[in-house]
Symmetry: C2
């Protein structure tokens, strides 16, 4: 990726020099960031707010494939994925720490690309970078991100608050990131077989972007606050809708009923899934990496959100004994399963 | 390491099953831990206290060598190293998150060993495990730890508060972890050349323990509070005394003068260094991994700490122009350097 560009050895800068070089552009924006990089620990002052913290460890070859993920996107996505967990608590994300392990074959410019993506995400989502480090790695690229945020005690939304009769809502649309990944994987195989062929991504821009550049739904947290809707439970869709529904159901001790025809699926996701011989519903249910927010609201809040085009009501909460089911378009009940739901594949 | 023991494949448990299995024994001890493992983010309530956060990424082959580090020690040390940063802010550490990436050749029992060490550290230092995950890794063992703590605003101690005339103090003794590492490295080489030879660690128990099982100096933070001594600056000794002194000097915009004959070096460290042809003073200055606390206090606090055998006064803060120097036993001035100080080696 860097063959024709300038290459600077990371060793030339040393550890302290490197972290200073990479983070010099980052500005501290929040009053709650009392101390960022440069001491033994970061220091925060959230006054009377509760503090939210989430952490992700991303490993090359497991969580990302450098053969089709540009480094700047990788940095951006790594931050987004982590912020998404703070938003899923109905909180505001305010700080992150980033630790990166890179093999010595990585030039400085490659690490700079990752930090460029991190910086883009920090600027767009108003996040302070307050800590972390870089080290060499014998084992490819390793990224560890911790994000910190806050919420008033009464606003924090857990997975366990869903009540029978609540409406189940999801933001945005589902399955796009998964179908986008299938396209990237297909083009990678074609490239490996014949490096002369350029990847054909025409008309796939939306789903490729869903995979490479997801956006945490901070706007939904803002919107709910504005509409004065406190969700009764919330989770972000990282492993797939079905898996997240089961988390809410288990932790809230309830059942869930969703309707296949209510699932928000973008036309590009739908068409591409068909083209690849995949069931769009399966992609939406089990695809994962959508980073949308799945949440429940009281029925009395229905009027407040019913006109928002970015929120779909896909079902409702039932009693525990009814289990977690989807009513198909042909009016057949299917039990929701986290992964094994593939049996439903037509 | 696990050839003769039971081996269970991690894949049998699945990701959620694995984390539940590994963390089931951990009890939540702090009121500030509002929500631990099991939601999108951990939730804390530190009331009016400031929040401290530090994060470490530990990579196999870079930060640890599995050929001589038992996994239970690795888990224990990984936690300690991270807690040490919270203590270095004069704070109390209360929570950690742990994310681990393991290659598929690791059996469940190996990961259990690491968690056993983590649990020991959590119990001994009164820490809640509140998050993190496990994933497979193509890159050997990867451990990411984030620790969280708190302190009253007026108690938080930075690196930048040292004033001319302050006394420079260090807890415990120095160089032991480094000399212990040299012994482990030596025995590893002997073993590689002749696997029949058992490691000879007799009489090296203290320095081996300093390397494999360091302890964060929570007791020093407690002691200082008890003595009503607020350090003017503080840092933990991870990269070596000289390096840490330079951090305090740079950030406080002062000079430092230390005295070689005041450096606390354990007799076992001293003797073993000599045996290996190393200068004990160099080991103390540049060895690293001691995880002792280096701090400055006002002269007026001298009487409060002078009788504590676990705190050594090794020098004092001077004006910036005097630089950072050590007065040798033969009364010669040597400039302190972070790494390049090796020129001093006799």
């Amino acid at each position: 990726m860097f063959e024709n560009k300038e290459r600077t050895s990371i060793a030339e800068l040393g550890e302290f020099g490197l972290i200073k070089h990479l983070t010099d552009n980052f500005k501290i924006k929040h009053e709650s960031s009392v101390k960022g990089i440069g001491d033994d620990a970061a220091v925060f002052d959230f006054k009377d707010k509760q503090v939210l913290l989430s952490t992700d460890l991303l490993l090359e070859g497991i969580h990302f494939d450098l053969s089709y993920v540009p480094l700047v996107h990788l940095g951006y996505k790594a931050v987004q994925v982590n912020l998404s967990d703070i938003y899923a608590m109905n909180g505001m994300a305010t700080q992150i720490t980033v630790s990166i392990g890179v093999s010595s074959k990585f030039p400085l410019e490659a690490v700079e690309e990752i930090y460029k993506g991190i910086e883009l995400a920090c600027n767009k989502f108003n996040i302070d970078l307050v800590g972390g480090d870089t080290s060499s790695s014998k084992q490819g690229l390793v990224i560890s991100i911790t994000s910190i945020g806050y919420a008033a005690k009464e606003d924090v939304t857990y997975r366990n608050g869903a009540q029978e009769g609540d409406l189940l809502c999801v933001s945005g649309d589902l399955g796009g990131a998964y179908v986008g990944l299938q396209i990237l994987e297909r083009e990678k195989q074609i490239f490996l077989e014949n490096p002369q062929i350029q990847p054909d991504l025409e008309g796939k821009d939306y789903i490729i972007e869903r995979q490479l550049k997801p956006e945490g739904r901070r706007d939904i947290v803002d919107l709910l606050a504005q509409l004065k809707v406190k969700p009764t439970s919330m989770i972000d869709v990282s492993d797939g809708l079905a898996s997240e529904i089961l988390h809410i159901a288990t932790q809230s001790n309830v059942g869930v009923r969703i309707y296949e025809d209510k699932l928000p699926i973008d036309p590009q996701t739908y068409e591409t899934a068909r083209e690849l011989g995949l069931d769009p519903t399966v992609c939406a249910l089990n695809g994962g990496e959508d980073y949308e927010l799945l949440f429940t609201i009281k029925q009395s809040d229905y009027d407040k959100i019913k006109n928002d085009v970015d929120i779909s009501i896909i079902g409702h909460i039932t009693d525990k004994n009814s289990g977690c089911v989807m009513v198909s378009k042909s009016d057949v009940l299917h039990e929701l399963k986290a992964q094994g739901w593939n049996a439903f594949r037509k």
